[in-house]
Each structure stands twice: as structure tokens, then as C-alpha cells.
């Protein structure tokens, strides 16, 4: 352990002398934070709609007017019949068709109306299904208003649930930003230590270390500590950007966020180091790292909720460290949870950190 300070000095010097690394560590997170929150939204807008108005009533006009006024839809025209509208859908000119049947309004008051028909293009699954739901919400809203005007009763019944889905204040950006922070930590703290170590293998400098009396723990720590520091700095940087640019401040305590992030960073950097220890060259390291990163991003609830995965996959997420961090980050950032609420996540992350780093240090072999 006496050699740790000299090894750390070397790692930091080499990091700052690299023509590439210091820039990457600042620019990569900035680019991601400046661009990605605007584009990774599941909030579907500009759904192209064709309306088939068979009714020409006030209700129908109200519905069409609402569609025109909404930023979620672009009205692409009112067609004479359904067949014409369907041709436009097939041609890809519109995403959804709304058909208001003949005598819809009249039958509405009599409660025997033929239903409004919505057809959505499901090729783009998200746009299709969300578009259909948005349209249904618009129609129900219009009908409810109309019934109220006509003096009907219990008109709001069954309409409230939909209103939530349609809630325009459900901001995907706030949901995505903590996820982006996590992806950045996965990339920076996982890949950089791996690249660093395998770089020493390829340049042959590790040979000179292997014939010296450097201990395995000093060696592992000297490789890991710089990336712990860098990871926490990057996190601070992106939190500042989130606050200044998107007005997203964490609801929970900043200390709790940094503690969770530190545990997660330990885990990721240990994983990177262990994989590099066991790889012979850069390609091997990169490929194995990509495998884990894909798994982590897609299976941890980062982009799709764990709750909607099949049961066996949900079980699988429990053995992946990011799942606990994703949970914790969202709860800390958006819900304002405390360490006490999330103790299971902290404990799991601490266990992963210990196990992975122990494995990484043991996988460093000076003698074969």
C-alpha cells in the first residue's frame, strides 16, 4: 500500500497529459445533456389526423376544433368517407383516422349512439397507440362537455382516468434526465478504467509493473480512484446543467444522490477493471463491456419500466447493479426520497461494489 501514492500520481499525470481523455470527460457529458433530453421524449406530438365527419353536428365541429387547436395533433383534412381516409393512412400521410358516424349527436342524447371510430397506424407502435389514446381522450372530453351543455347527468363518468394519460404536464424530460446521468456514469466509469488498463497491456508498460513488487490492491486502487473522482465530478457537472438548463433540481438531498452514485461508480469501475484484467486486447475488452452496458441499459428500468417486463426478466434485473441505482436516482431526484426509504438499494449497491471490486483486484495476476 505504500506504493499507492506514487501510482496515483502517475495515473493522474497520464490522465491530464492524454490529448483525449480530459476533453472527453467534459464534452461527452455536456453534449449528452444539451441534446438528448430534447430528443428522447416519448411524449408524442404532431400526430397527423384525418377526420371522417358523417355527422356535421356541433359536437363533431367541437371535436374537430379541439384537434386543430391541440399541439399534439395536426389535422390533415376532413374526408368524405372512411375509404378515402384509409387510403391516406395506408399512404402514410396520416397516423390516425377519427370517424364520427352519421347522427352521432342526435343519438348521443338518446344514449344509443353508434361509437366514434378511431383507427391508428400501429407500424410506429408508440405513435400509434399513444395517438389513438390521445384522440379518444379528446373525443370523450368533447362529448362530456356537450352532454353537460345539453343538461345530461353523470357525464364525467369514466372520463377521468384518461385525463391523466393525456396530462401534458407529464414531462418526459424530467423522467429522462436522471436516466441520462446514469448512462453517462455507466459509460465513463465503466469504459475508461477498462481502456486504461488494457492500454497498458497493449503498450507493454504493465510488464514493467508486473516484475515490480507492486501489490494487487495498490495496483487496483490506483487504477480505480481516478475514475471515482472523475465520475463524481461528471455527476456534479450534469446536475448543474440539469438545474440551469432544464430547471430540474433534485427533490431529495444532494448528499444522498452522491452516496448512491459513489457506490454505483465503484461497481462500474470495478467491473471495467476486472473485464480488462481478463481480456487480452482492446477489442475483447470493448466487446465484453458493450455486452454488459447493453444489458444494463435495457434491463435496469432505465428506458422501459421494470414492472412491465415479464416476471423472469424482473427477477433477472435484481442481479444487475444499475437497477438499484436507477430506482434510487429517480426516487431521489423526482420523489424526494431519503436514504432511509431506499436502504435496500443502498445496501444492494454496497454489496455489488464490494463483490465486483474484490473480483477485479483478485483477477489481476502478476504471475501466470
Amino acid at each position: 500500500m505504500r506504493t499507492l501514492p506514487v501510482l496515483l500520481e502517475k495515473e493522474f499525470r497520464l490522465f491530464f497529459r492524454s490529448p483525449f481523455l480530459p476533453k472527453v470527460v467534459v464534452l461527452f457529458p455536456l453534449m449528452i445533456m444539451l441534446v438528448i433530453p430534447w430528443v428522447t421524449t416519448l411524449d408524442v406530438r404532431h400526430i397527423d389526423v384525418a377526420v371522417v365527419d358523417g355527422d356535421h353536428s356541433r359536437t363533431a365541429r367541437r371535436i374537430i376544433h379541439k384537434i386543430e387547436a391541440s399541439e399534439y395533433f395536426s389535422l390533415r383534412g376532413v374526408e368524405a368517407d372512411y375509404a378515402a381516409a384509409l387510403r391516406r393512412l395506408e399512404a402514410g400521410e396520416v397516423d390516425a383516422i377519427l370517424e364520427i358516424p352519421y347522427r352521432f349527436e342526435r343519438n348521443l342524447t338518446a344514449r344509443s349512439s353508434e361509437p366514434v371510430h378511431i383507427a391508428a397506424n400501429g407500424v410506429n407502435a408508440i405513435k400509434g397507440s399513444l395517438g389513438g389514446q390521445y384522440l379518444a381522450a379528446v373525443v370523450r372530453e368533447s362529448i362530456a362537455e356537450r352532454i353537460r351543455e345539453l343538461g345530461g347527468e353523470d357525464s364525467a363518468e369514466g372520463l377521468v382516468v384518461v385525463q391523466n394519460r393525456y396530462n401534458p404536464t407529464l414531462d418526459y424530460r424530467f423522467y429522462m434526465i436522471p436516466a441520462l446521468m446514469i448512462m453517462l456514469l455507466v459509460m465513463i466509469c465503466g469504459f475508461l478504467p477498462a481502456l486504461n488498463l488494457v492500454g497498458e497491456k497493449e503498450s507493454g508498460t504493465i510488464e514493467q509493473i508486473n516484475v515490480s513488487p507492486v501489490g494487487r490492491w495498490s495496483f487496483a486502487l490506483a487504477k480505480l480512484i481516478p475514475f471515482w473522482v472523475i465520475g463524481l465530478i461528471v455527476l456534479g457537472l450534469v446536475m448543474i446543467v440539469a438545474r440551469l438548463l432544464y430547471g430540474l433540481a433534485p427533490e431529495g438531498s444532494i448528499a444522498a444522490i452522491f452516496l448512491a452514485a459513489a457506490l454505483f461508480i465503484f461497481t462500474m469501475s470495478g467491473l471495467g477493471l476486472g473485464i480488462a484484467n481478463r481480456s487480452a486486447n482492446m477489442q475483447q475488452t470493448m466487446f465484453v463491456m458493450f455486452f454488459f452496458v447493453m444489458l444494463f441499459i435495457l434491463l435496469s428500468g432505465l428506458v422501459t419500466p421494470v414492472e412491465s417486463m415479464p416476471r423472469w426478466a424482473q427477477g433477472l434485473t435484481r442481479i444487475l447493479p444499475p437497477r438499484y441505482f436507477v430506482d434510487a436516482m429517480r426516487a431521489l431526484y423526482l420523489k424526494g426520497a431519503s436514504i432511509a426509504d431506499l436502504w435496500v438499494n443502498y445496501a444492494a449497491l454496497a454489496l455489488f461494489a464490494l463483490a465486483v471490486n474484490g473480483w477485479a483486484a483478485l483477477s489481476y495476476r502478476k504471475q501466470l
Binding site: 506504493t3 506514487v6 501510482l7 497520464l14 507493454g204 508498460t205 516484475v211 515490480s212 507492486v214 502478476k366
Partner: protein
């Protein structure tokens, strides 16, 4: 000969990779202050044998001691008492000359003041005092090799292992490098060196010829030339290496 102290002694040392026997029952001794030339064709097993002696690789069977420590069980102890210079230049290119010296001095537990003291003497001996703050990357190869040797001997090891230390430089740089080797040997450091340059082999105290993982000849250059009736070590080498069954790499 037996009154001299053996710094390296090896008995029946063997290393197999699967069915392939890279080093086949080697037995020899290297004495303090010797320059021991470890010669052999490519693929003869030189580097494998040297890696075992340095504690980088475990022997499959056999026994060996380096600087008083067992190579199978006391690898880390051996590492404190040896220096090693590989055929690939392995100092940090993006650190300066002085920073490399400080790094390796620190790894071997020398104090900062002691490192600085030795560094000053070393840079003067190498004639590169003006380059202390130059990044190693920009030094010519001959200087890099001399620096690597100096760093490998900075902690005053008992034995220094040199794996083809002078590959790729001109005869003048090689000559200068060998002056450093002589100087270190005169100071009591044992030198264990592999080389492909037969003129360099002539400078060694003793040489061994490795063919297919076995030692075919061992003695002073003069003894061996006499025994095999060869004009030079070069001729001796060609005659012995021709008997190799392993494919040349």
C-alpha cells in the same frame, strides 16, 4: 568455480503449455557479478525461461532460486531483488524522464530524496542531464534503452534480466549500452541477458545455447569455441541452432 556464490540456480526447470514443452529440464547456475548470455534461436524458450526466473510465470515442474528466493512460491520476494528490462520498451511514454525514475524508485520503496540523488547521478552517467524534463516519447530509441536499463537498476537489484535489450539500434548505441552493462557488472550486479547479436555474446562472461528448450552448450565463449572448434560464437550458434527440430518463428 564452486567457491563462487550462485545468484541464480535452476534444477530441471520445465514449462509446458498444454502438450508443448517450451522449456525442457533446464539446469544451470549464474554467479554473482557475471554477465550471463542466454542465447538461442527464436522460439527456443529463452523468454519463457526468463519469465519464470522473474516471477512472471510459474514453472510446470523443477526448482529454481533467484537471489535466494524460490521462483515457485516467493515470486513477490524475488521481484524486490531483481531488475527487468523487456524487449518492448516499457517505460511510460507520456511521463518525463525524471517522472519515470520517480515512479519506479517509489515502487521499490526508495525515499524521494534518495530517488533524486540517484537520478542526478544516473542522468549524468547517461549523458542526458538536459533531458530530465523531456517526455520519454520524444527520446531516440538508443537513449530510451539506456534509460530503461538505468531504471531497471535504480533500486540496486542483485540480478538484472535483459530480454534482447538492444534490438533495433545502431552499433554505436549498442556499444554504449554494453558499457553500461559492464559498469553494472563491475559493481557486483549480476546480468542475465538474451540477445541475437553474436558480437554481444562475445562480451559475456559465460554463455548458454538453448535449442528446443534445452541447454546444448554452456561455458565461457572461449571454452565453447574451442570445444566445438568454431571460429566465433556466431559459427557456434549456427551449428547448434541447425539441429533444432522446432519450426523457426
Amino acid at each position: 568455480m564452486n567457491d563462487r556464490e550462485a545468484v541464480i540456480s535452476v534444477r530441471e526447470l520445465t514449462k509446458c503449455f498444454g502438450a508443448f514443452t517450451a522449456v525442457d529440464h533446464l539446469s544451470f547456475e549464474v554467479f554473482r557479478g557475471e554477465i550471463f548470455g542466454f542465447l538461442g534461436a527464436n522460439g527456443a524458450g529463452k523468454t519463457t525461461a526468463m519469465r519464470m526466473l522473474c516471477g512472471l510465470s510459474y514453472p510446470t515442474s523443477g526448482w529454481g532460486r533467484v537471489a535466494g528466493y524460490d521462483i515457485a512460491t516467493q515470486g513477490e520476494e524475488i521481484k524486490r531483488h531483481i531488475g527487468y528490462m523487456s524487449q518492448r520498451f516499457s517505460l511510460y511514454d507520456d511521463l518525463t524522464v525524471l517522472e519515470n525514475i520517480r515512479l519506479f524508485g517509489g515502487i521499490y520503496g526508495l525515499s524521494r530524496r534518495e530517488i533524486l540523488r540517484r537520478a542526478v547521478g544516473l542522468l549524468r552517467r547517461l549523458g542526458i542531464r538536459g533531458e530530465a524534463h523531456t517526455r520519454v516519447r520524444s527520446l531516440p530509441l538508443g537513449w530510451k534503452q539506456k534509460l530503461a536499463f538505468a531504471v531497471a537498476t535504480l533500486h540496486r537489484p542483485e540480478v538484472v534480466f535483459l530480454d534482447e535489450p538492444t534490438g533495433g539500434v545502431d552499433p554505436l548505441a549498442r556499444r554504449q549500452f554494453w558499457e553500461l552493462i559492464y559498469e553494472a557488472a563491475a559493481g557486483g550486479t549480476t546480468i542475465f541477458v538474451t540477445t541475437h547479436y553474436m558480437d554481444e555474446a562475445e562480451y559475456c562472461t559465460r554463455i548458454s545455447m538453448l535449442v528446443d528448450g534445452r541447454i546444448q552448450a554452456l561455458g565461457t565463449p572461449a571454452e565453447l569455441k574451442c570445444r566445438f572448434a568454431a571460429e566465433s560464437v556466431d559459427e557456434l550458434f549456427r551449428r547448434l541452432a541447425r539441429g533444432a527440430k522446432r519450426a523457426q518463428e
